[in-house]
Symmetry: C2
Subunit: 197 residues, 2 copies
């Protein structure tokens, strides 16, 4: 057994996603080898994040301001809402610099296996922000069972809004992907979604 303070830190590292005992040990050891000021910064930053980061009351994205940067930006097109599962999905899409609309972050996805119901994620606030100006809802949930379930749920509920176009990100072969390396579901979707040239 490691000294108890180290053992506790190892257990805390294990609470991070996909971190097992060995990795947690390596992380804790790395903390021991860090310069003192880095450990202090680490410790301080955790508390800082806890205190400063909040969810945007409009879209649910993380922010340090009252309302997030994107929702506050009048140059963005507030009539197009892109629905994503996580804040990091917003970052991924923003990196493209393509999308000029706004986002809605669900903070999860509906899952029958994990028992996550629509009311457990940030879905209702999507419907309450939809108004007469809303033109398009882009569903950009993951291409997984949970992402698909969520997309299906949203599509069904959005059907009653006749003036809103509902779209979903295309599924298919990833760029640079070999056909014979693609899994069956990906291949099937790429096939079904084939585009006339």
């Amino acid at each position: 057994m490691y000294p108890s303070s180290l053992e506790k830190l190892i257990e805390l590292f294990r609470s991070l996603p996909s971190v097992g005992r060995k990795t947690a040990e390596r992380y804790a050891m790395a903390v021991l080898e860090m310069p003192e000021e880095n450990v202090e910064a680490f410790s301080r930053q955790m508390m800082d994040v806890l205190r400063k980061i909040r969810k945007c009351p409009v879209c649910g994205n993380i922010t340090e301001s009252e309302k997030c940067e994107i929702c506050s930006d009048e140059n963005r097109d507030h009539t197009v809402i892109c629905v994503v599962q996580q804040p990091r999905d917003v970052m991924a899409l923003e990196r493209l610099g393509q999308f000029k609309g706004v986002y809605h972050v669900l903070h999860g996805a509906i899952s029958t296996v994990k028992g996550v119901l629509p009311e457990d994620i940030n879905i209702e606030s999507l419907f309450s922000r939809i108004d007469d100006n809303t033109k398009e809802i882009i569903i950009a949930t993951n291409s997984t069972l949970e992402g698909d379930t969520t997309a299906l749920y949203l599509t069904k509920r959005l059907r009653s809004y006749e003036n809103i176009t509902v779209t979903r990100l295309a599924s298919g072969l990833p760029s640079g992907g070999n056909l014979d390396y693609a899994d069956d579901v990906t291949l099937m979707r790429a096939f079904q979604g084939r585009i006339r040239q």
Copy 2:
């Protein structure tokens, strides 16, 4: 870009071994989702480790006491010293419950590539603790280029101690390992170190 407090935390996570940008983002997000008391515990524990953990003045292993548990234990055989690279190697060997001697932790290995010289690691204190009672030094450095270099260095310097047996952990096929999956160096060592049955 993420909010700045989160961005800083992501950068700190990146300073952990083998953690890239994506993993660091996932960890920082996980911190956001943690119950408040866990984040506080995490923050506190980092500082706690910084304050409490020190190196044993005898063997260099990490400890919260003046002298580590193993060095303080009179039931252990202090005439046999097992030299390892890292504190986690001590844990690995202790888990076996086989070895009843004491350890010496180098906190690194000699590396020409990384420019780590013998004086950069905890080697001199090994020679200063050797006395007339010392019977055996077991070199248990990793079976890597750096571990081998360190073992060679130690073996050479220990040659002048005529009454001390110097041994090294056996190299060979890992248990359960298929011969045809073994890399060439492993296979060569297993072959050279073959044992008469």
